[in-house]
């Protein structure tokens, strides 16, 4: 027995992760002793495939939701989403790093990627602060090593150093937050914490704390947001991103810009889920009720700073780092608006954020993958005008790049457009669903956020247009001979292209996949556990009275 659950259930449920972890450990242990030309990339890709198949064969509902408060992993919609997402992207990364066969660190690289990606899925399924924290560390520690292994020597060392120091700093902040969260509620179980904090039925905040003002809750909330904000490169915790991206290779950028972001958002949704869910119960304190204000500010600042500083850059990786920062802002906007949305609109903040995350992931990954192909030792691509002439020299790759850029701009019929559409429509639709005077202010607030988001998108399009004009509107500076031979990273590029287009043209193919079902109704541990929560109507009565 682990907790109240049979160990067999655990093993069955976590089989994909267990397979990956064991494979990665075996690779690390036996790697030095086997032949140099062992196809590690193939092995790890097969590992990911196997894990994904195991995941698909998992029966839903393997874990009894009524045990939520006593187990440290869980199964719900967002965990399914993150698991499928992270295991799927593991395969992408294997294909992207495939060419590393020449270097001597092959098996370490692939084993570390496996650890890192699986850590992301652990964050997704964690239901306990301890497991969540270890999952986050399982992402960070391989990242330090990989950052050092890839890239030009001194720059790689510098970026690894920066990431390392700021990362341990931010995990200190996260831990401070966790300690207070644990102290306020008395358990590390996230479901129980959520339950207690939305004025639970079972758990109560510690009796000798006067938490009615929510003052004490400020410390964990801010500390955790700061620490996780580092992971998702949220302003003002974003400083490492441009430097670190600049100092490493395109493939490592792809890894940094996606995995830690997915994990960070998964963790934010997991920890603050109770306060963010649509029609969430009003929390026991003002802090929790007004949590959206904090997210509002952070989102507006993040998208604006990311866009504005992105305009000034020349280095492509820096540009894309700032672009990833501003996209975090849009995702945060979805999170900010989540508690204020109503079912009537058919929109859902967390769902919109996840959708944005998907669109962002495939767009960004595609760009980095294409640039990785174009970037060669002889003709490195550093600044945006190094791309000159790509359009005529390799038209197909250029078109792929253009489509990914369009997606990041938000041109219709690409995933990015619908992603922005859901976010902005969500922000704008807040006003008319809540009639009372209190939300009139909220309405203006979110309408403003919608304006800020879309203005940023408009201004930010210049960043991508500049890259695009580098591709198409600039004569080639040098003759470039491309090794047109097949490479494995063409697979993920094509897959990204297709998914970006499918997301734009027929998004329901993705939205309606079984794995994402219920994205519209995110984590609400209370409702998942089969307990009826008071109907929104009753809450309305209470609210009106205030």
């Amino acid at each position: 027995m682990i907790g109240s659950l049979l160990i067999v259930d655990y093993i069955q449920y976590m089989m994909p992760e267990i397979v990956l972890f064991s494979l990665a450990s075996l690779m690390l242990l036996f790697g030095p002793f086997v032949k140099k030309n062992t196809p590690w990339a193939l092995i790890s890709s097969l590992g990911f495939l196997l894990a994904y198949l195991l995941l698909l064969s998992n029966k839903h509902g393997a874990i009894d939701p009524s045990l939520l408060f006593s187990i440290n992993i869980l199964e719900d919609m967002s965990s399914n989403f993150i698991r499928h997402f992270s295991l799927g992207m593991g395969l992408f990364f294997c294909l992207l790093f495939w060419r590393d066969c020449q270097t001597e660190n092959t098996f370490e690289t692939f084993a570390l990627i496996m650890f890192l990606v699986t850590g992301c899925s652990i964050v997704g399924i964690s239901n306990d602060l301890i497991v969540l924290f270890l999952g986050l560390e399982l992402i960070s520690i391989p990242t330090y090593v990989l950052l050092y292994l890839h890239g030009k020597k001194d720059l790689a060392a510098e970026s690894a150093m920066k990431y390392f120091f700021l990362s341990i700093f931010s995990s200190g902040l996260v831990l401070l937050g966790f300690s207070y969260l644990y102290g306020i509620v008395g358990t590390t179980n996230i479901s129980a914490i959520s339950d207690a904090l939305c004025n639970g039925y079972r758990f109560k905040p510690s009796a000798d704390l006067d938490n009615s003002s929510g003052l004490l809750f400020l410390i964990p909330m801010l500390a955790i947001l700061a620490g996780l904000g580092f992971k998702i490169s949220m302003v003002p915790f974003h400083f490492y991103a441009p430097d670190v991206y600049q100092g490493t290779t395109y493939r490592m950028c792809a890894l940094l810009a996606t995995v830690s972001k997915v994990a960070g958002f998964a963790a934010i949704v997991r920890i603050f889920g109770f306060a963010l869910a649509q029609g969430a119960l009003p929390g026991s304190s003002k802090t929790l009720d007004n949590i959206y204000v904090l997210f509002w500010i952070l989102s507006a600042v993040t998208m604006t700073i990311g866009t504005i500083l992105g305009l000034l850059q020349r280095n492509l990786r820096r540009i894309l780092a700032y672009s990833s920062i501003s996209h975090s802002g849009y995702i945060l906007a979805g999170i900010a608006v989540a508690p204020k949305l109503e079912l009537a609109t058919g929109l859902d903040g967390i769902g919109a954020s996840f959708f944005y995350l998907i669109a962002y992931f495939f767009g960004t990954f595609g760009i980095f993958a294409v640039l990785d192909v174009l970037d060669t030792k002889e003709k490195p691509i550093e600044d945006w005008d190094d791309l000159a002439g790509i359009g005529s020299q390799t038209p197909l790759l250029a078109i792929c790049l253009a489509v990914f850029l369009f997606s990041l701009i938000g041109i219709p019929f690409t995933g990015g457009f619908l992603a922005k559409f859901f976010i902005v429509f969500g922000c704008v639709s807040v006003p008319y669903t809540w009639d009372d005077a209190l939300s009139k202010g909220t309405h203006n607030l979110f309408f403003l956020l919608g304006i800020i988001a879309f203005l940023n998108a408009a201004v930010g399009s210049w960043i991508y247009l500049r890259i695009l004009s580098g591709i198409y509107f600039k004569p080639a500076i040098w003759p470039r001979v491309f090794n047109t031979s097949f490479r494995p990273s063409y697979f993920p590029i094509i897959a990204c292209l297709l998914i970006v287009l499918v997301l734009g043209i027929k998004p329901n193919l993705i939205i309606n996949l079984n794995i994402l079902k219920g994205m519209a109704h995110p984590v609400n541990s209370v409702s998942l556990s089969g307990v009826e929560i008071p109907k929104p109507a009753e809450i309305d009565v209470v609210l009106k009275r205030q």
Binding site: I2, S4, I7, S70, E108, L138, N199, S212, V531, V542
Partner: protein, 351 residues
């Protein structure tokens, strides 16, 4: 000592603490500023001691706490101001051992041992070796200068001050949390009262001064929050007037019935979730228990499970099994990672 004067003294000691840290932080021109720093530090410590000794009654625990925390704080401050990183590492070892004492006070002997072994035994020693290996002939410029000492120390101390004031504000007043037994009791009493037909008798039963049933139920529900708000809404809606103002027995009874129904509903929600026996068994008191109900030891503090370390072990290998496995993986990754990083060294040392 009341909160007001407590905070005043705290601010004062924070100010001196800041002076101490600011003046002691290595600067290019240090001169006699270190002396000012030491003096300010002593003042800050004295003020803090005054605060503690006037707030708490004298007992051995207090003395131990003061000694350990004195060494912890002084050690940590010395660590961050030490010009020689080797001295800093030694000071850090001092801090670790003193926090070990604090850990013991907090009934965590195993954690204390692990902490000292890992930090003082492994990390510090390794870093001292590292310091020697990097073969510095004299102090580096970096050690004699700090980066933005003013901004850093001001920010740090403001943050510290806001933590302390938030903690002070949060622990100042007491509030009750929802208590199952109390609520059951109130509901039973009210149900009995519903059978009374005499108006004055009924009023005496449910209204009478401290015995006012609505207040009692509200308190039992924790004094605030959504359930209490529901009661308030309910009193306005069903009771037409407040129970204590009405003279109509039917009206009062209707109001009481709906009050009872709210209480029962609350109990129903509470009991819907299965209690998690395993966790409670291994890791101590049920976190849902209000502080008043936790098993106490002779001195009145919450009792830890009898055999602390045993239970910790049981907890680790039952509830936290997954976490333990993950931590093991993490150690594997870190070990291999460190090897991989260092293996990249250019082979320079051949001559």
């Amino acid at each position: 000592m009341n909160d007001q004067s407590w905070m005043t003294l705290t601010n004062l000691s924070l100010l001196f603490g800041w002076l101490a840290v600011y003046f002691c932080l290595p600067k290019r021109i240090s001169g006699s500023s270190r002396l000012i720093g030491y003096v300010a530090g002593c003042i800050a410590l004295i003020i803090s001691a005054i605060q503690i000794f006037t707030t708490y009654s004298f007992n051995p625990e207090l003395v131990l706490f003061c000694v350990f925390s004195f060494f912890a704080v002084v050690g940590s401050c010395l660590m961050i101001v030490a010009q020689n990183p080797a001295h800093g590492a030694i000071c850090f070892a001092l801090t670790i051992t003193s926090t070990g004492g604090i850990f013991l006070l907090l009934a965590a002997p195993f954690v204390m041992a692990a902490n000292i072994i890992v930090y003082a035994g492994a990390i510090i020693v390794t870093f001292l070796f590292l310091l020697m290996l990097v073969n510095q002939h004299n102090a580096d410029l970096a050690d004699s200068e700090s980066r933005e000492p003013f901004l850093a120390s001001v920010t740090g101390f403001i943050l510290m001050g806001s933590f302390i004031s938030i903690l002070t504000a949060s622990f100042s007043s007491q509030s009750l949390s929802g208590n199952r037994n109390e609520i059951e009791l109130i509901i039973n009493e009210t149900q009995q009262a519903l059978s009374i037909t005499n108006l004055s008798e009924l009023k005496a039963k449910v209204i009478n001064g401290d015995n006012y049933v609505v207040t009692k139920l509200k308190n039992a529900l924790g004094g605030s929050g959504i359930w209490v708000e529901r009661i308030e809404v309910d009193v306005q809606k069903n009771g037409t007037l407040m129970i204590n103002k009405s003279d109509d027995i039917v009206e009062i009874k209707t109001a009481l019935t709906s009050l009872v129904s709210i209480g029962t509903e609350y109990l129903k929600y509470r009991s819907l979730l299965r209690p998690s026996i395993a966790m409670v068994g291994n890791s101590g008191a049920d976190p849902s228990l209000p502080l008043g109900k936790i098993r106490k030891d002779q001195s009145g503090r919450p009792a830890m499970p009898a055999d602390n370390t045993t239970f910790l072990g049981k907890l680790l290998f039952s509830d936290q099994l997954i976490a333990v496995e993950l931590a093991g993986l993490l150690l594997l990754v870190a070990t291999i990672g460190a090897i991989v990083i260092v293996r990249q060294l250019p082979t320079k040392v051949s001559s």
